[in-house]
């Protein structure tokens, strides 16, 4: 279990996260929702160890994450981040095998290669295993990174998988595919924490939804408990209608069109000002 208690994070006097407590249990997909700047990514980066909390604790399997040795932690926690800053001509296979780095000393075992083959097949990238990563499209690159992250944890069902907007670069098919992979991994025991922007996807695939607002945990519950028009308006300032899907019995959200009156733009005034000069 991932157990976060009274976690706060401050940077330059600005409190980005305030008193967050939450849990992700084994076998659960938890979606993290919130407006831009609500603190979702910061929370993710605290759990991944990239940032250190100002106060509070993060426990993974009843042990504080700062008490783990780096290898053991790397075998029980992995994160797919939003941006990938690769500038060398690595091939897809070379990148995916890096996911096995915490598991071998100098050269990968047959088991490592088997795992890499399987994760590549699952992410649909086997066909370009020998191509250079930089020559792939954004969505394909994202799938390569996912295969690498999955390889890292593949043989440890007690592990925690962190996904920071995993589907934002993907086409319709792979958006569904990636979340369904996450979901089926959770059924094997994995803990999955995923940041999503698409509420309907969260409704479809998450067992639980946590909503953040201004650095605080605002809501925490099943999609049916949490997703209603009032909550969605509170978090995103967007009007919506909720239907309960007859088949899955899960909420399906329809958004109302948002209108901005062009008379609020200052284009004409600025143009007049420039012309006068």
């Amino acid at each position: 279990m991932l157990r976060i208690e009274q976690l706060s994070y401050e940077i330059k006097g600005h409190r980005v996260l305030k008193d967050i407590s939450l849990q992700v249990r084994k076998g659960e997909v938890v979606a993290l929702l919130g407006a831009n700047g609500a603190g979702k990514s910061t929370l993710m980066r605290l759990i991944s160890g990239e940032l250190n909390p100002t106060s509070g604790s993060i426990m993974l399997l009843d042990k504080r994450i700062d008490k783990y040795d780096s290898k053991t932690l790397a075998r029980s926690r992995a994160m797919l981040s939003q941006q990938h800053a690769i500038n060398m001509a690595y091939t897809v296979k070379e990148l995916v095998i890096m996911g096995r780095y915490p598991h071998f000393q100098s050269s990968p075992s047959t088991r490592d290669w088997k795992i890499v083959e399987e994760t590549m097949a699952i992410c649909g990238i086997t066909d370009f295993a020998d191509r250079v990563y930089l020559s792939l499209s954004g969505g394909e690159q994202q799938r390569v990174q996912l295969a690498r992250v999955l390889s890292q944890l593949w043989d440890n069902p007690d592990a925690l998988l962190l996904l920071d907007e995993p589907i934002s670069a993907l086409d319709l098919h792979y958006q569904q595919k990636v979340l369904s992979i996450a979901k089926s991994l959770s059924r094997l025991g994995f803990m999955v924490l995923v940041i999503l922007h698409d509420i309907n996807m969260a409704s479809l695939y998450a067992d639980r939804i946590i909503m953040l607002k201004n650095g605080r945990k605002w809501l925490d519950g099943t999609p049916n408990e949490v997703l209603n028009s009032k909550n969605i308006y509170t978090i995103f300032s967007v009007e919506s209608l909720i239907n309960i899907d007859n088949h899955s019995l899960k909420p399906h959200i329809l958004f109302k069109e948002m209108r901005v009156d062009p008379q609020f733009f200052n284009i004409q005034t600025i143009k007049a000002y420039v012309d006068k000069k």
Partner: protein, 344 residues
């Protein structure tokens, strides 16, 4: 490492050894390759039937061999450090000079040349010929250490700050070196220029022995950072998530590179372009996996510097051209060619 990369490494190793043996015979005083082989065979006790000409053997073992070995050591050191520094900076255009190693070495060398008679008389008597080498080594170490310390943010070395600090320290050392050069006498100026252009001409068994441990240690240890540097290519955060100790990697790569390059510069002056060009070429040959690139850069660096030194002592023999000039003259067109070809 894939099979192709292993084959390339073995091929490079063989070509390097061959280049070294052949280059033993080349120079102002020519020794036929056959004599080189006979003399070598005699030395290691392989063939006693034919003995090499005594004069050939003398030149070979007293002059040529330390020089070729020095060239190989320095080339290997510059090549592997270049690759490792590029890994740390996650940038194929980085080179050891970026963290101030060469600039610091130059500054201290020029200081010693300019003020030897005034300030360093006692030291000079104590260290003799080695004063310059020792000074350059100390200068390299001090500047790299300063850059490393400045780059620390909350106790962790920050790569962006390291880059900026390196540029600043380079500029500062460059300005001071310029000032010293401006104030130097004609004779000192000549010594300074000669040193700055690099040369393997000072090679003896003694100074080869003196720098051997400083270069051997990095050559032996840096290849073990291949995995860590590959992970660095994913970004430092991802490297840490893969269980790599990023602070440890940065600290030791900077330290080993400084040792290797500092020791090289100390005995052979500034030899540019190897650290930048060699890793790049190795990548073009067989890919970017650092477990291959580090060893490849070591072998290719040794080979190229051996070749460059042959040219430096044969092109206008008996006069020797500065080896730094050769590496830049040959290196630049090759580099530009690669650059243009890559862009197309």
């Amino acid at each position: 490492m894939i099979l192709k990369q292993r084959i390339i490494l073995v091929t490079l190793l063989m070509i390097m050894v061959l280049t070294a043996i052949i280059s033993l015979g080349l120079g102002a005083f020519h020794i036929p390759t056959k004599e080189v082989f006979i003399a070598l065979a005699n030395k290691i006790g392989l063939s006693q039937n034919t003995t090499a000409d005594e004069m050939f053997a003398d030149v070979l073992f007293a002059i040529r061999m330390p020089r070729v070995l020095l060239g190989m050591l320095v080339g290997a050191a510059l090549g592997i450090s270049g690759a490792a520094i590029q890994g740390i900076f996650r940038n194929p255009l980085a080179e050891p000079g970026l963290i101030g190693i060469s600039a610091g070495a130059s500054l201290f060398a020029v200081l010693i040349i300019a003020f030897e008679t005034l300030l360093f008389v006692g030291l000079s008597e104590l260290l003799g010929y080695y004063l310059l080498a020792f000074g350059a080594f100390a200068g390299a170490g001090l500047t790299a250490f300063a850059v490393y310390q400045i780059s620390k943010k909350n106790g962790h070395p920050n790569i962006t700050t390291m880059l900026l600090a390196g540029i600043a320290i380079n500029a500062l050392a460059g300005a001071l070196t310029g000032l010293m050069t401006y104030m130097a006498t004609e004779q000192q100026l000549r010594t300074i220029t000669f040193w700055m252009l690099g040369s393997l001409g000072g090679a003896t068994w003694e100074n080869l022995g003196a720098i051997f441990p400083f270069i051997l240690l990095p050559l032996a240890c840096l290849p073990f950072f291949g995995k860590a540097l590959n992970a660095f290519a994913l970004g430092e955060d991802q490297a840490a998530l893969l269980g790599i100790n990023t602070d440890y990697t940065k600290r030791w790569v900077v330290l080993f590179s400084t040792l290797a390059v500092g020791a090289s510069v100390a005995v052979s002056g500034i030899i540019g372009f190897i650290g930048l060009l060699v890793p790049h070429t190795v990548r073009l040959l067989g890919g970017v996996d650092y477990r291959y690139v580090l060893i490849g850069s070591m072998l290719l660096g040794a080979m190229i510097l051996t070749l460059a030194d042959v040219l430096s002592r044969t092109l206008v023999a008996p006069i020797e051209l500065p080896i730094g000039v050769i590496t830049a003259l040959l290196g630049t067109p090759v580099f530009l060619y690669i650059l243009i070809k890559e862009n197309k």
